[in-house]
Assembly symmetry: C2
Homo-oligomer: 67 residues x 2
DNA sequence: TTTTTATCCAATGTATACATTATATAACGT
DNA sequence: ACGTTATATAATGTATACATTGGATAAAAA
């Protein structure tokens, strides 16, 4: 299970930087999330990403998305 | 954003103990997840819960579920 | 030409998810 | 009666999400 943030950003014609600024998360850790170098996530960040990208957790998680 | 694991367990007529045994997670931390005393989760556990409960992340997260 | 966008990298610190061990209670099945 | 199910509580340790500070490069906008 991993994120497809980059794909959603591309669909919406937005950059990582744009999402990073919206989120308020440090760029280091934001980058790790986007590049799937983390093994988990805090709910507040998951919710924030979904809110900003106007999507749901299912949209973000590849394995469930593709079912 | 929080879990509704208990509700799904009830729907499926299963106990917390049953899910706890399936998961392999320690009971202490499993209980914290179920009772929403955690602020995040590791993907492997999210995936395992979804697999075992035959649901998706959206089914587990109340705020998205109710949209 | 200076600011802002857009990305990168390294080190150090804190909060917390999860593990482990050791308990306890009580209902149910055998 | 004993084992298993089904739940609890407490203490201590490890791994990691996330913060913070301090950089760097390059392109576009002001």
């Amino acid at each position: 299970m991993h994120f497809r943030i980059d794909e959603i950003l591309k669909e919406k014609n937005k950059t990582r930087y744009w999402l990073y600024i919206q989120l308020g998360l440090s760029y280091q850790n934001f980058k790790k999330l986007v590049e799937n170098e983390t093994s988990g996530i805090r709910f507040e960040n998951l919710k924030a990403i979904c809110d900003i990208l106007e999507c749901t957790p299912n949209d973000l998680f590849v394995e469930y998305h593709n079912k």
